[in-house]
């Protein structure tokens, strides 16, 4: 058995082997970078024309980045709600001469802000992200490991939430119709979940310390965190996307 047989592929290597749009070759840091950069650009979206241009450029690039259109659609629902609620409040409170145009501009601005993050999220692997944050950005290793380990508890905690809320329903303490009753129900269930989280964390830290986590000043990593050409390209594209609204403002006035 050779060493290369022993070391499993990284998430990026898996994606690269699978085939798909070019973004699949990118690692987590460039994915995050290209998601965050357009946020800065979106601040420059002041008119609906600029917003439309910026969004159009993003939409043109979409085929290079989407991992399954069917999976993308449900992710767009909360985004749409967020954008529309902002647009509506602008129409209501913006005090602009043309409230409709202002509302459309703010809807487009939110779309430009969130769309890259929503599309690229599909490629992001949390534990691979941890590897890269610690090995490339040199964030504190133990904090990164604790965070990725905690993420593994997400479904157990979601299940605990279900059982906690079932217990409240069975005891005659379920959420009623009124807002006060719902707030009380949510607060009580959330408290139970936090108790569960704290107990779970105490047991986890015992298990982790028994495996040498307690005094791991240095630490090696089972998987490498490579930076590829594709990562550089994606980061540059992200920066260009951030510049689009600025350029469009200059050109369109």
């Amino acid at each position: 058995m050779s060493v290369t047989d022993l070391v499993p592929p990284t998430a990026t290597q898996d994606r690269t082997a699978a085939g798909g749009p070019p973004v699949r070759r990118c690692g987590p840091l460039s994915l995050l970078g290209a998601s965050v950069l357009p946020v800065a650009g979106s601040l420059a979206v002041d008119t609906w024309r600029v917003g439309a241009v910026a969004l159009a450029v993003q939409l043109l690039l979409l085929p290079l980045a989407v991992r399954g259109w069917r999976a993308l659609l449900p992710r767009l629902v909360p985004v749409t709600i967020a954008a529309v609620s902002v647009g509506w409040s602008t129409w209501l409170l913006g005090g602009e001469a043309d409230p409709v145009a202002a509302a459309v501009a703010s809807v487009l601005r939110i779309a430009v802000l969130v769309l890259p993050g929503v599309v690229l999220l599909a490629w992001l692997d949390p534990s691979e992200t941890g590897d890269h944050l610690a090995q490339r950005l040199h964030l504190p290793a133990r904090a990164v490991v604790a965070a990725t380990a905690a993420l593994e508890q997400l479904s157990a905690l979601a299940q605990a939430w279900d059982e906690l809320s079932r217990a409240r329903r069975a005891r005659g303490l379920g959420p009623g119709r009124g807002p006060v009753s719902r707030v009380r129900w949510a607060a009580s269930t959330a408290f139970g979940l936090l108790v569960e989280a704290l107990r779970r964390a105490a047991r986890m830290s015992v298990a982790m310390d028994a495996r040498g986590f307690a005094d791991a000043a240095g630490r090696s990593w089972a998987l490498p965190a490579r930076w590829a050409l594709a990562d550089t390209v994606l980061l540059v594209v992200g920066a260009l996307l951030a510049a689009v609204p600025l350029v469009a403002t200059a050109l369109l006035g």
């Binding site: 022993l6 005659g172 108790v195 040498g212 307690a214 089972a222």
Partner: protein, 519 residues
């Protein structure tokens, strides 16, 4: 392998009495020791001391004194392998290989060495799903083997096991035990487990701790067990008789809404539940319950049995109106209908609480109030039952041996106490349907007799009772009918369990009672 030497170990956690008192212990290298004792006797604390974790733990105003040597050196974290009760607590990574690699990463091994250790440790632990398997998709038995691999990856000379099989059903527990024994090789082994019978014949020595944290007995298994069986021990010693369920005064368990004895109080037809795993890596939809029929009759205890993952808890949740089935019907007797609705999942919370008592699988999730007394009274208060409701709640608390803990926060109770509180709280408002999920876990012989007695007496007083359980003793002592599940489906040939004693319920003369299941 590593010898263990403990001298004068006293552990007093902040704000409570010592859990270990001046303990001396010598374990020669390679010896296998079973550690038993009542809950609160400091078994887990001793294991943590041997694992070298107490210094890290008691850095607030608790106190640890004495000496713990493993292999001649003071015990430090990472030197001994530790396997915990809930295998989920040890999962730190998304894939099995990455998880086993956690220890070697902390030991700053280089990459080829890490993966060689992973391969060897997983083979030694009989963990076969492979290193790229998503840890969220592993069964309980597989997870515990993965935990074992994680412990072995650091090549410990001492292996410590804290109730490693208590959350597994009997066949899986035996398989995990055998994997541990095979993997332990010539390592020193110290295991804590309530299941004395499973370990007594494969260890060299049994050590009994008393309630005050001191060694009560110590010696070869046969001799220690013989002495324990003659004493009035509350431990479950192999061969000792199962206690009789207690007869509970009927006014404590009588339903508020009464149905004629022997009637079908609740039935499910073709129940199907499809669930999608939530979380960061949502899995494909899995069918956890498929085409299950079940009937609960007043006056009868129906046992829901099957291995872990068979769908028992899901069936309980559906029958209790806490989960809407994906397909199939669940209908209560017309006498239990609320606003004309007979499907429990359509009842409001108050309507449900009037009719159903639910004892959750994880009793700490059932806690709704900051003190034991308020907890047991909560449902009655929510339903406006007044002083009578409070009185019945307090009497149940007394019956279940919790009255002296009435002012304590329920989260501070032991696991066994929390479960008994769950039983009291579920019955306090006089439910017609009692649905219990593993009610007997963590009980000693005395409290077991009370829990079993409450369930059986509730049925005799006219409730329909269903109990999802791994506890064969409970099935034998209480059940009038059995629904056996495997992989979310009914096992055929289910019916009254052979050992089920005939109980004098109003339903005794109805032959249909025995056919609680129609396959």
């Amino acid at each position: 392998m590593a010898a263990v030497r403990v001298r004068g170990l006293t552990v007093a956690p902040a704000g409570s009495r010592p859990v270990l008192r001046d303990l001396d212990l010598d374990v020669p290298a390679g010896e296998r020791v079973l550690l038993v004792g009542p809950s609160g006797s400091g078994k887990s604390t001793l294991l943590r001391a041997l694992a070298g974790l107490l210094d890290a733990e008691h850095d607030d105003d608790g106190a640890v004194t004495g000496e713990v040597l493993v292999g001649g050196r003071p015990a430090g974290p990472g030197a001994a392998g530790l396997l915990l009760q809930d295998p989920l607590d040890a999962v730190v990574a998304a894939t099995a290989g990455r998880d086993t690699a956690f220890g070697p990463e902390n030991a700053v091994l280089d990459r080829p060495e890490i993966w060689e250790r992973v391969a060897r440790a997983q083979a030694a632990a009989s963990f076969r799903p492979g290193r790229e398997r998503d840890t969220a998709t592993l069964s309980g038995g597989e997870l515990q083997r993965l935990g074992l691999a994680g412990a072995l990856a650091l090549r410990p000379g001492l292996l410590l096991l804290d109730e490693p099989t208590s959350m597994l059903d009997a066949p899986t527990a035996l398989a995990v035990r055998d994997a541990v024994l095979a993997a332990a090789g010539d390592s020193t082994l110290v295991v804590v487990d309530h299941d004395v019978a499973a370990w007594a014949h494969v260890v060299d020595r049994v050590l009994v701790l008393g309630a005050d944290g001191a060694v009560v007995d110590d010696g070869p298994p046969a001799a220690v067990l013989a002495r324990a069986a003659t004493s009035t021990s509350e431990l479950w010693i192999p061969g000792a008789p199962v206690p009789d369920p207690l007869d509970v005064p009927s006014e404590l368990v009588t339903p508020a809404l009464r149905l004629p004895g022997g009637d079908v109080a609740l039935h499910g037809r073709g129940l199907r539940v499809v669930r999608r795993r939530r979380g960061l890596r949502p899995g494909p939809a899995t069918t956890v319950l498929d085409g299950v029929d079940a009937e609960l009759r007043t006056g009868a205890v129906t046992a829901l049995t099957g291995t872990s993952g068979a769908g028992k808890s899901t069936l309980v949740a559906v029958l209790a109106g806490l989960l809407r089935p994906t397909a199939g019907d669940v209908l209560a007797a017309p006498g239990l209908a609320a606003r004309g609705r007979r499907e429990p999942w359509r009842w409001s919370s108050a309507e449900l609480a009037t009719r159903v008592g639910w004892i959750p699988q994880h009793p700490e999730h059932g806690v709704v109030r900051p003190s034991v007394r308020e907890e047991v009274r909560a449902t009655g208060r929510a339903l406006g039952l007044g002083a009578a409701g409070d009185r019945r709640a307090d009497d149940l608390l007394d019956l279940l041996g919790l009255a002296h803990r009435a002012d304590v926060d329920p989260h501070l109770l032991s696991g066994g106490e929390q479960r008994r509180l769950g039983v009291a709280s579920a019955l306090a408002a006089g439910p017609s349907l009692v649905l219990a999920d593993e009610p007997s876990v963590g009980q000693d012989r005395a409290t077991w007799a009370v829990v079993a007695g409450v369930l059986r007496s509730a049925a005799r007083a006219g409730a329909a009772v269903a109990v999802a359980t791994h506890d064969a003793r409970l099935v034998a002592a209480c059940a009038d009918a059995e629904v056996a599940l495997a992989g979310g489906r009914l096992l055929p040939a289910a019916g009254a369990p052979a050992a089920g004693p005939a109980v004098g319920t109003p339903a005794d003369d109805t032959p249909a009672r025995l056919a609680a299941v129609r396959p």
